[in-house]
């Protein structure tokens, strides 16, 4: 019988954020969506032929990575790869492949959704966030 990884409660999002013994921060999907993420670093893929390209990018594509964090402690850290494209006549980035983080999403009863499902749901949440312009700005500043 499964046991909840951590007790679910009705406390606020801020109060819920604590690190588990296995290093994961366990959150409800809705809680993650409300967290303010701060841009940490973005860069171009240094070995595009061996890494991001196998996630589906075209050989000629400009691909990179980006990292975001929360400022509270313990900090949530999340990163993903992106590919440069065009949207509405201007440059924009689209997420490429899975996200990587220290977050394990849980259901309403506190059961782990698992690393794969967590990554999928976090990716969906990321896709709804306006991160592309900040990544492009960081890339322009860095290179």
């Amino acid at each position: 019988m499964r046991e909840p990884s951590r007790a679910s409660s009705t406390t606020s999002a801020v109060e819920r954020i604590q690190i588990s013994r296995d290093g994961y921060i366990r959150l409800l999907p809705a809680t993650f969506s409300k967290l303010p993420l701060v841009h940490l670093i973005s860069g171009l893929e240094e070995e595009p032929d061996s890494a991001a390209l196998s996630s589906g990018a075209r050989v000629s594509a400009i691909v990179g990575y980006t990292e975001w964090v929360t400022t509270e402690s313990p900090a949530i850290t999340i990163g993903w790869d992106w590919q440069l494209g065009a949207s509405g006549g201007s440059a924009s980035c689209a997420r490429l492949g899975e996200v990587r983080s220290n977050v394990m999403l849980v259901d309403a009863e506190g059961y782990d959704l698992g690393p794969q499902r967590s990554s999928e749901l976090l990716g969906t949440a990321i896709d709804d966030m306006p991160w592309s312009d900040q990544v492009l700005s960081a890339i322009r500043d860095r290179y």
Binding site: I19, D22, E46, P74, A75, T77
Partner: protein, 192 residues
């Protein structure tokens, strides 16, 4: 290829100095790590009598990969040298978390080897599986390691359950992070 593991005293005669020489070639000469170490060998304060080594060897005796395991209940690299990677969190200190460091799988006879490319090689996957099995035998439930951030992607692509312990920090423009690798029966793609 065979994988040998054990403490320095338990390794076959001559293998420990061979590992020190191999590490010097990989980490100092090829990767350019600035380490204070005697010429021709690479050893540090974490190479102790209780350190467990994992070594990949070919039939001719040449080393093609290695790593070392340290219990987090004793001094270890992340806790002593890179605690900033945990952003104020206490470094793990428990028998069920071991640290993997100085991990590499580089065939010195190959002309092309890259730090990132190593995680796509069959030797790497087999060696990491051996490290996980070895750590499990010591009671570990997960490993923790200090790595370039790109390693996380490659570990996961190779089928390992890896996740970050805290946000990366930027060293010389490149993100470095503390990574957990879970000891799980099915870790690592068998096809690798």
């Amino acid at each position: 290829m065979q994988v040998v593991s054990g403490t320095a005293a338990g390794l076959p005669p001559g293998l420990y100095p061979q590992v020190a020489s191999y590490r010097h070639e990989v980490f100092v000469r090829r990767l350019g790590w600035q380490l204070q170490t005697p010429e021709g060998i690479e050893l540090d304060q974490f190479d102790r009598p209780d350190t467990v080594y994992i070594i990949a060897r070919e039939d001719d005796g040449s080393i093609t990969g290695c790593g070392r395991l340290l219990p987090t209940t004793q001094p270890y690299l992340l806790g002593d040298v890179f605690p900033q990677l945990l952003h104020g969190l206490a470094p793990p200190c428990t028998p069920d978390i071991w640290e993997l460091s100085r991990f590499c799988a580089v065939d010195l006879h190959e002309r092309v080897n890259t730090p990132m490319g190593q995680f796509s090689s069959p030797v790497t996957v087999q060696l990491l599986k051996a490290a996980l099995a070895c750590a499990a035998a010591e009671g570990a439930q997960r490993l923790i390691t200090v790595s370039p951030l790109g390693v996380e992607r490659l570990l996961r692509r190779a089928g390992f359950h890896a996740h970050r312990a805290a946000p990366p920090i930027i060293v010389d423009g490149h993100p470095l992070f503390a990574c957990y690798i879970e000891v799980e029966p099915c870790s690592g793609n068998t096809s690798q």
